[in-house]
Amino acid sequence: MDCQPFAERLRALREQLGTSEFEWYPFDSFGSYRLLEKLPAPECSDIRRLCGAGPVLELCCADGDLSFFLESEGCRVHAVDWPLTNHNYLRGFRRLHQALGSRVELHELDLDGRFELPGDYYTLAFFLGGLYHLKNPFYILEQLAERSYYCVLSTRVARWTPDRTAEMRAHPLAYLAAADEFANDDSNFWVFSETGLRRLLDRSGWKVIDWTTFGDSVTSDPLDPGRDERAYCLLRSKRLSPDARVILLEGWHQVEESAWRWTERKFAVSVHEPGAGLRLRGLVPEGLAPVTLSAAFDGEALPALNLTSPGEFVYAASLPQPVPSVMRLEFELSAAQEPNDRDRRQRGIIVKSENLQMMF
């Protein structure tokens, strides 16, 4: 999706609107977006496909340029920012929103406070230039990993401490800026080393699909404007199925550290635009086998699978055609481990997020 024509349109619109009441966000909001298409991962060559049926989320949206562009390309967009940290208290966004007759949903959320992302699920989230403004980067990244299948993220990284006595790059470190240290802007907090950012992403539920840095790639530090380096990456949630059409419903426990989940005895998913069949790869724990896994699609029974021993298994089934655009798949085990002193949850099988797929 070429953003240049739309960027030109917005520039002209800003000139036409003018304003004496506030200053437009002064930086190029499309700069990071243009880099996305230069990443080598195949996913990056077709942003439209990544956006899928949407909705798409843009965090720290500034005047909303990217959100409005995505909308112009047919995406349903939720834009998020917080007036106290937005350059013009979101007046720029509102002015453009009105002038464009846009239907982009603006949500005023303090990402360091108590917030709930507005959508249940997103196909793609853009989080460009916002992470180092947050006090709690782990929290927002975990929240996103629970809701968004993919994320495009950019943030400042540093190879050295500001006094250049310590090379941070190879270690999983984060530098905490003082309130008056970072261009006298007290809204800056954590600047990560590359290793630190990668570890943070891993522990908060993301797999790095593609990664590059731009800016000062030799002597970058957390503070100096002349030694600014940015990491730019495409991430895929380890907590959600990579098949963006599959949404977990009831019967799934919280994701565990390495992106797997216990199910309960009964568990369900909803599938948008289902294909010809489904494949579920799971793990039968010690002590549960023999057990039978049965499945039903919108109430219609699918073949059952007898699991006679502990260990990995694959359940595969064809779906009766034609299928509706949204369907509900229910699974049921003939037995489960009941809650006990060590674990108060009912536990059926173990499923890794990437192991539940729909087949075309």
Binding site: E21, F22, P83, L84, N86, Y89, L90, R91, E108, D112, G113, R114, F115, K135, N136, F138, Y139, E142, T161, T165, A166, E167, M168, H171, P172, L173, A174, Y175, L176, A177, A178, A179, D186, F189, W190, G196, R199, L200, R203, S204, E257, S258, D341, R342, R344
Partner: protein
């Protein structure tokens, strides 16, 4: 309660011995007591506290007292035995016996300690609004979001006694962390093979975190390996122990220009209305409505604001309906400071209502 901390620690040791005997008598069949000495950290307070701050009763204040990451609640029960009202907090998923130990002891001791299951890595609410003191020993490095927890505590707790692991070196001892404000993020299997470990700070990193999260460090010491500590090796374990005092959160108080609260608490304002702001406020949010009633008589309005007489950005209200006014605030030259709002037109008193009416304000808030 004894005044000097040394005596208080000694009494704590006696209490622990009694508690250990009680635990042995109870001998629960369905869970195991927390196997470590959760009151062992108290001995660190002796070298920490100096001068007038050795008076532990003054630190604990009038209560209530909060015990975070309480384990089986040993410290909470000791504090209660010393006359404190105590809330004990832990999270079953990470507690050694799924938080069965603390309620069992509470029942056995006929204690009034309130035991709450709270996930400190969620956007949690503390059991009470205000505490005179909190104990937070050995919990910070188990949190994903230490900033949030420390900020939340700073809004609700006056004094905090905290200990956490710190590190002078990276695990390979190639990089000296100590002089830099850094945090090391351990891998899931890197520290005691325990995935609940997250951030280990350098001393400078922890000090900066405290400062930015709203705390003043009153006392500070370290214990353990004070030469070549690192984030992961057992023999390179160093702990920081500190006494913290929270900086007051900024507060808004209405001054002139407000009418009585109506309905769910909203108020009509006059044309000019003002707040007093106490504490270090860095931003203000005002949630308000330009009512159709006003708009029909005034048309579009401009809302102007001043922070101690310095103008803040104005907001043009082109149509009736709800809006939010937001502005960042420079450091005030006086405390309390004055925040004044004014709309350029309003509805004057008339026969139906003798009040001057500008906007309807639903709420205001200042942030630090």
């Amino acid at each position: 309660m004894p005044g000097d901390v040394a005596e208080w620690i000694e009494r704590g040791d006696l209490f622990r011995q009694q508690l250990d005997r009680r635990k042995a008598e109870l001998a629960p069949a369905d869970f195991e007591w927390y196997p470590y000495d959760s009151m062992g950290g108290l001995c660190l307070l002796d070298p920490l506290l100096t001068g007038a701050r050795r008076r532990i009763d003054e630190i604990l204040g009038a209560g209530p007292v909060l015990d975070l990451c309480c384990g089986d609640g040993d410290l909470s029960f000791y504090l209660e035995s010393e006359g404190c009202q105590v809330d004990a907090v832990d999270w079953p998923v990470t507690n050694h016996n799924f938080l069965k130990g603390a309620p069992a002891l509470r029942d056995a001791l006929a204690s009034q300690v309130r035991v709450s299951a709270i996930d400190l890595d969620s956007r949690f609410t503390l059991p009470r609004d205000q505490y005179s003191a909190a104990f937070f020993f050995g919990g910070l490095y188990h949190l994903k979001n230490p900033f949030y927890v420390l900020e939340t505590l700073a809004r609700h707790v006056e004094h905090c006694l905290l200990s956490t692991r710190i590190a002078r070196w990276t695990p390979d001892h190639s990089l000296n962390l100590q002089p830099h404000p850094l945090a090391y993020l351990v891998a899931a299997d890197e520290l005691n093979a325990d995935w609940t470990n997250y951030w280990v700070f350098s001393e400078e990193g922890l000090r900066r975190l405290m400062e930015r999260a709203g705390w003043e460090i009153l006392e500070w010491t370290t214990a353990g390996n004070q030469t070549d500590s690192d984030p992961v090796a057992a023999e390179h374990d160093e702990r920081a122990v500190c006494l913290l005092r929270s900086r007051p959160a900024p507060r808004l108080t209405r001054l002139e220009g407000w009418h009585e609260a109506e309905g769910s608490g909203w108020r009509w304002t006059e044309r000019r209305f003002a707040f007093e702001v106490a504490g270090a406020a860095r931003g203000v949010l005002l949630d308000a409505t330009l009512p159709e009633f006003t708009y029909a008589r005034t048309g579009p309005l401009t809302l102007r604001a001043w922070w101690n007489k310095a103008p803040l950005p104005a907001l043009r209200l082109e149509r009736a309906g709800p809006f939010r006014y937001a502005a960042r605030l420079n450091e005030a030259t006086q405390d309390p400071a004055r925040l004044l709002f004014e709309v350029d037109r309003c509805v004057p008193p008339d026969e139906t209502d003798r009040r001057e009416r500008g906007l309807i304000v639903l709420g205001g808030a200042v942030s630090s």
